[in-house]
């Protein structure tokens, strides 16, 4: 399996108060939440954090969320949450949260899925699985990196494609339920992956796969079938 990327580990142990500063609707189901985290230790694109909400009686719910924003020194980070029906934490964010509210975060945690911007990156995501990949795309742009980067992203429809307006030439969207005129409908297939692997960049791709377990299994098998070495595939499963 791929080697590790060293990240600061001390930061993961401490809960910090984060203040919601901005809420941006992305799609009918997904919303971006901007948080001020003054003591944020920094992160690498692809990392996630742990988030905690606490009720009056002390009951607390904790969930993992990938960081959507690129590393910067603004003292803010962004998360993008899907609204999971009946979901305890995501429903609070989508129906109660407003600027000024505070939550607690801990992290970043785990450096395994991180991409420091060093190697060519082939990114495959579905649904909210695009979130950590977008942090990589944003980092690539913000730093003006020239290392090759490609994003294949699967969404049900153009309306449900998160960050649609921000995606550029590096991105190939795949639509599974409905697509614009002239664009085929169907799930990610060998035909999407094979061309990128027949002519890999020098040094080969570091592949990052993120989404539901079903998508992760499917996409990682496509990569292996197309010749991507298994030890250069990193997978983040949202459950």
């Amino acid at each position: 399996m791929p080697g590790r990327i060293a990240v600061s580990e001390g930061a993961a142990a401490v809960w910090q108060t984060a203040t919601l500063t901005e809420i941006r609707r992305e799609t009918p189901r997904a919303t971006t939440f901007r948080l001020a985290v003054p003591e944020w230790a920094g992160h690498l694109p692809g990392q996630h954090l742990m988030l905690r909400l606490t009720a009056e009686d002390g009951y607390a719910a904790q969930r993992h969320y990938s960081i959507a924003s690129a590393p910067d020194d603004s003292g803010h980070i962004e998360l993008t949450l899907d609204h999971v029906p009946d979901g305890e934490v995501s429903t609070w964010f989508h129906t109660v949260a407003r600027p000024g509210d505070t939550v607690e975060v801990r992290g970043p945690v785990s450096g395994f899925f991180a991409w420091p911007g060093d190697r060519p990156a082939l990114l495959l995501g579905a649904g909210s699985g695009v979130v950590p990949l977008m942090s990589m795309v944003r980092h690539h742009r913000a730093r003006g990196l020239t290392v090759p980067l490609r994003l294949l992203v699967s969404a049900r429809s153009p309306q449900e494609l998160i960050y649609a307006a921000e995606l550029g030439a590096e991105t190939t969207p795949v639509f599974t339920r409905s697509a614009p005129r002239g664009v085929p409908v169907g799930r990610m297939a060998a035909a999407h992956v094979a061309p990128l692997l027949t002519e890999p960049p020098e040094g080969g791709w570091e592949a990052y796969v993120c989404g539901s377990n079903a998508f992760a299994e499917h996409a990682s098998r496509l990569l292996v079938a197309a010749g991507q070495p298994v030890d250069r595939i990193r997978i983040e499963r949202f459950g």
């Binding site: 580990e9 142990a13 505070t102 395994f112 298994v230 459950g239």
Partner: protein
Amino acid sequence: MNVTRGFTGRPRVHRPGLPPGQYDAGDDWPVLSAEVTPDLGPGDWSFRIDGLVERPHTWDWDAAHALPASAYDGDIHCVTGWSKFGVRFGGVSLDAFFDVVRPHGSATHAVAYSHTGYTTNLPLADLTGGRAWIAWEYGGGPLPAEHGGPARLLVPHLYFWKSAKWIAGITLLDHDEPGFWERNGYHARGNPWDEQRYSGDRDGDSDCD
């Protein structure tokens, strides 16, 4: 305590056996693995114990199945927050394997490794005394590949990342050596009752242990 405005959470039913910060996943069994699920059949599988032992030994599928069968009925807990109640795994107790290799008195820790290269560290005491298994059955059927089949390590009293999928072997050492997730910021031991999730979380052992 940092109360979140307007957050009430789900109605709370006290569930005995649920460690702090965990929720009951019910029938779900989420898959958490940073790797590609390998194509590994029983014919490709083997399991080795070496390091600080008197007689290092490797078992193939049939030899491992010839050891006395043993089952685990109970709960499992994943560091990402879900717990699963009343699961049944079938396999062989690790004690049966250790009886063959005979650990040296100097062995204190173990590194478990998988056929894919995943590693995780454990105190030897967490693997002995009927608390750990090599498991190849789940709920009466073969263990599914994405959950570590054909065979995985099972250490149900610790967070589930310690229960290495696609287990290939265990090396006994006289010191602790962090494994894959432990080098990526996770706790060295991972006791769910003490919420030992990340490095920096407290090390003390609770009585429920």
